[in-house]
């Protein structure tokens, strides 16, 4: 009987030949290739596409479209009205409400900041994962578990001010981290794909907190609805600008977290390990880095940040916890991290952008009658476009212009 033979691996797919040095490109192309230009173009194109949807769903525009060729001006006018109303409402809800008076005029921008807090925290965590080569699709579950843990500490424990929110946050970080850590541990021990495990854990978390909400652990005593009691006053995050605004300390925490993540990834030896594993785990292993440990640590940190984001949603704004508390924060955070290119500054800016969309959408719905779901479309299109810079270039007007001027597109895409 012959001994078992090592199966020959297929030869790795040969990389396409790369030119040795960076090829010299025309100035215009360099601008186009820059991340900022791609992002700006992508945002613009997404808003354009959303505008088409708005017009398509607008009854006045639909009516005018029937006699489009007889009186095109009617259609253009109706379409313009629909789009303008939608986007102006979005702007008024997210940045500056010029129709309001006094302090209420600047309230929208603080609402944007509030909405960005969980996105920022969860997005920072996901970014660490992406840069460490871990596709954590499970922020949704981690946010939910963190929110549940924070809510439980906030409701069940009787603690003094300061200590109470701190402890609630610590609990959220731990629970979120451990929840993500399951995926990290399984990947480290058995090689299980973290993509699949985190996707599955999202659903498990949903049913798990659903179950807890039917028990006395989380459900408000005396209630039959699956919803927790409101968090104690002592546990709430302090307001930053007084009771007129909802802006809370969590925003500062999120910004500090971004700085900490920057230091972790760029300056610490731990971050060096994370990045090395993300870029080439074989070389990292050969250099003495324990790759399984890194998997677990990355997931703990990422899940901790996502869990903290979940707690902020409860302790900063919602006060009560229910199965829908996480909303779509976890999935939105994926788009935030992708749009932010997994870098802390980018993630902060992306979180503010998507926070603005979230903050502005209720007014858009009530004032312009455009459903908030439009925001999801805008978000998805932005991320799809920035993930494929060549597509943005092909779609953008500047590109067409550059083609007219005789610049070779192949050069830039090669």
């Amino acid at each position: 009987m012959s001994t078992t033979q090592a199966p020959p691996e297929p030869a790795p797919a040969a990389p396409a030949p790369q030119p040795a040095g960076p090829p010299r490109r025309p100035y215009l192309q360099q601008v186009l290739d820059s991340t900022t230009a791609t992002v700006v173009t992508a945002v613009f194109l997404a808003l354009l596409l959303a505008a088409v949807l708005v017009v398509a769903a607008d009854p006045a525009s639909q009516r005018a479209a029937v006699y489009l060729f007889a009186r095109p001006s009617d259609f253009v006018g109706a379409a313009w009205n629909a789009v303008f109303e939608t986007y102006s409402a979005l702007f008024r809800g997210a940045v500056f409400d010029y129709q309001a008076v006094g302090a209420r005029r600047v309230r929208p921008i603080t609402e944007t900041m509030v909405a960005s807090v969980p996105l920022m925290l969860a997005g920072l965590g996901l970014g660490i994962g992406f840069r460490s080569g871990l596709f954590n699709i499970g922020a949704q579950g981690q946010v939910l578990m963190g929110a549940a843990a924070g809510a439980w500490v906030g409701v069940a424990l009787d603690l003094p001010i300061v200590l109470h929110p701190v402890l609630a946050c610590v609990a959220a970080v731990l629970v979120g981290g451990l929840w993500a850590g399951i995926a990290g541990f399984l990947k480290a021990r058995t090689g299980a794909s973290e993509v699949i495990v985190t996707i599955m854990l999202n659903s498990v978390a949903l049913y798990f907190v659903g179950y807890l909400l039917t028990t006395s652990v989380l459900r408000q005593p005396g209630s039959t609805r699956p919803i927790s009691a409101p968090v104690a006053d002592t546990a709430m995050m302090p307001q930053l600008l007084g009771p007129q605004f909802r802006l809370h300390l969590g925003f500062v925490v999120a910004l500090l977290a971004a700085v900490a993540v920057w230091w972790l990834m760029e300056r610490s030896t731990l971050g060096f390990r994370f990045r090395a594993v993300g870029a080439n785990q074989d070389a990292a292993r050969t250099a003495g880095i324990k790759v399984p440990t890194v998997y677990v640590l990355v997931m703990l940190v990422a899940g901790g940040l996502a869990g903290l984001g979940g707690a902020m949603q409860i302790l900063g704004t919602d006060r009560t916890f229910q199965g829908s508390s996480a909303g779509s924060i976890g999935f939105d955070a994926i788009t935030v991290a992708l749009l932010g290119r997994s870098r802390p500054l980018g993630t902060v800016l992306a979180a503010l952008l998507f926070g603005a969309l979230r903050a502005g959408s209720p007014l858009m719905q009530t004032s312009a009658g455009t459903p908030i779901d439009l925001v999801l479309v805008i978000q998805a299109v932005i991320v799809l476009l920035i993930a494929a810079p060549p597509l943005v270039r092909e779609l953008s007007l500047v590109h067409r212009l550059s083609a007219l001027l005789g610049y070779d597109r192949k050069e830039a895409t090669a």
Partner: protein, 433 residues
Amino acid sequence: MSTTHTPVAPAPAAPEHLSTPVQAPVRWRGPLTSVALGVFSLVAFGLATPGSYETTFTLATRGDLFQIAPVTVPSRVSAVLLSLVVLAAAAVQVQRARARRRVPVWTHVVVGAAVFLALLVWVMAGREAAMPFTLLLTNALVLAVPLVLGALAGLLCERSGIINIAIEGQLLAGAFLAVVVASTTGNPYAGLLAAPFAGALVGLGLGLFAIRYRVDQIIVGVVLNVLVIGLTNYLFSTVLTNNPQQLNSPPRLPNLPVPLLADIPVLGPVLFDHPLTVYLMYVGVAVLQIMVFRSRWGLRMRAAGEHPKAADTVGINVNRTRLRSTVLGSAVAGLGGAALVSAGLAFTKELTSGKGYIALAAMILGRWSPTGALAASLFFGLADALRRVLNNTGSPIPSELLAMLPYLATIFAVAGLVGRVRPPAAEGVPYPK
């Protein structure tokens, strides 16, 4: 750069200095799992049940030609007997495994079926309500159809090398279009016909970004899901809500009982009295099982997913093969969306509620094969059907736990606790050309 990495298997001659031949290790995991299941079932479902309890099963359904009377059995004795059957089958497995022989498939089937029956006996022990056995199986099959079609979609894409996380979006798009077309035309078959196009459109997006722009396939999948959810939610809130009579009240897909076969007691209603979607699922599994593994098309598709460069060097256009498989697979998922609303359901926001991810799980548990996907989907369908029955009758098992079951099973599967799963080698790797 040169990545010279061709591990070489040693020459076949046996080395002289190895005195004892190396034997393959005994695979204990499967048999031991069966033994554990048997013991658990014996203790939890059998011995723990009070001896006076009885369990009633109803076998008849309303439309049956011959009405079968409900069957009542003593709970404890039945559960113990069933557990002993499990242990007997497990003993066969242990004996085969020790002899390093293949464990026969029928023993797994016996273990699964007997444990399941013992569970049913226990769940309804000492209760007024009867376990609607035939209805349970029928519902399980119907609930499994979208999962099977979604899993088939996943495996068509992944066998060709494209990871399809967007099954959820494809189901949702298919369901949306099926509802709208069926409502406007008043013909459910028109909806069934239209749904694959919606799925294929999502698949085209996946293919375009994954193949042409080489965007990470997992990212594209996740984002496409968000996009489809956003679009269908938006259209639901605007167009469909403005005109629900015309756009969102689809007729039901009629049942087409197979002559004679549908009249068999129990089996007839479970297998042969269904709408067209169920029969399409039967055909889809059978045809794909043959085509994927034994046809020229399947061989080329799998070559693209396992070793694209090898496929390229024999003149197979890898990226075209991948795009076609992706679009075809996504169309199948679109059909799954239509199956989801075949009972004449109106469209609602996020109607699929994670079924696409369960389909993904079924594909993994089924090890990327059509019959495996069918088996895994039926298991998930059964868990779902049982959950619904128990929701009505009340049960000792929290319904959330049953709902978690598919996800937990998948985590165990990918962690290698129920055997090794091996995805196509070049899955997720773009082929630059």
